[in-house]
Amino acid sequence: MTHLEQDCISQPLAGCEVKNIGVEGKSDFSDWVDLMEAIELLCPTWPAPSAQVDGLFRM
């Protein structure tokens, strides 16, 4: 086993044991607006909107 292989084995994999903790917003939608502005810059062409709303309604 090479030193490189030993180093790889001894190091934890990146991303393991990482909890998915959401970012807490400010309730005024400013976080969402900032986020969507960034997304629109990265993805100026939007995918097709989702399918129709229909089905079971109990509310």
């Binding site: 917003g25 976080d31 607006v33 986020l35 909107p49 989702s50 129709q52 229909d54 079971l56 109990r58």
Partner: protein, 179 residues
């Protein structure tokens, strides 16, 4: 200003003449309850008595109606979508009436309560169990509003959709995650 913000501002301004101004629901409404995620789904809960008026308003804004039923309608304008759920049952009408106004960069927005959003997420899941996003939204709302929610109301929604066992599991998750 982003296209999405402009779209929502325009719609909200046009809705001002409704008997009961529509309230935000869906992924976008989560932002009012401290859960922020990317979404461009624009979903409103509207009074069923405003359905015809809203239809005319949206057609006037250049949308076309791709689906409309007693319970819901979908409108499209090029790549912009806008969905309406009509409140005509007691639960939805109560949630619409009690929606809280939030001052935002898009103007004053009425937003359904966190408890009500969980109810509508459960309804969406009942319609399509593959909607993982709704599961994560419910989990995030329960976590972000832990200790501040009307759990009796939430229990009623989970019971309405036969999901009581899952609620117990989610509550246990939150308890485990507490510092």
């Amino acid at each position: 200003m982003s296209r999405l913000v402009a779209q929502i501002k325009q719609a909200v301004a046009a809705f001002s003449e409704c008997k009961m101004p529509p309230a935000l629901i869906g992924g976008l409404a989560l932002a009012a309850h401290r859960v922020v995620r990317a979404t461009r789904d624009v979903d409103f809960l509207a009074g069923s008595e405003d359905a015809d008026h809203l239809h005319e308003v949206l057609i006037g804004l250049g949308y076309r109606c791709v689906h409309r039923s007693e319970d819901a309608a979908n409108y499209l304008r090029n790549d912009e979508g806008l969905d309406l759920l009509y409140a005509h049952r007691p639960i939805a009408r109560k949630l619409l009436k009690e929606a809280v106004v939030y001052p935002t960069v898009m103007g004053s927005l009425r937003v359904v309560s966190a408890e009500g959003l969980i109810g509508f997420k459960l309804q969406a899941l009942a319609n399509d169990s593959s909607r993982i996003r709704d599961i994560e939204d419910i989990r995030a709302l329960l976590s972000a509003r832990n200790g501040q929610l009307d759990m009796q109301e939430i229990r009623e929604y989970f019971a309405l959709f036969d999901r009581m066992q899952w609620l117990d599991e989610l509550i246990a998750e939150n308890t485990d995650d507490s510092p």
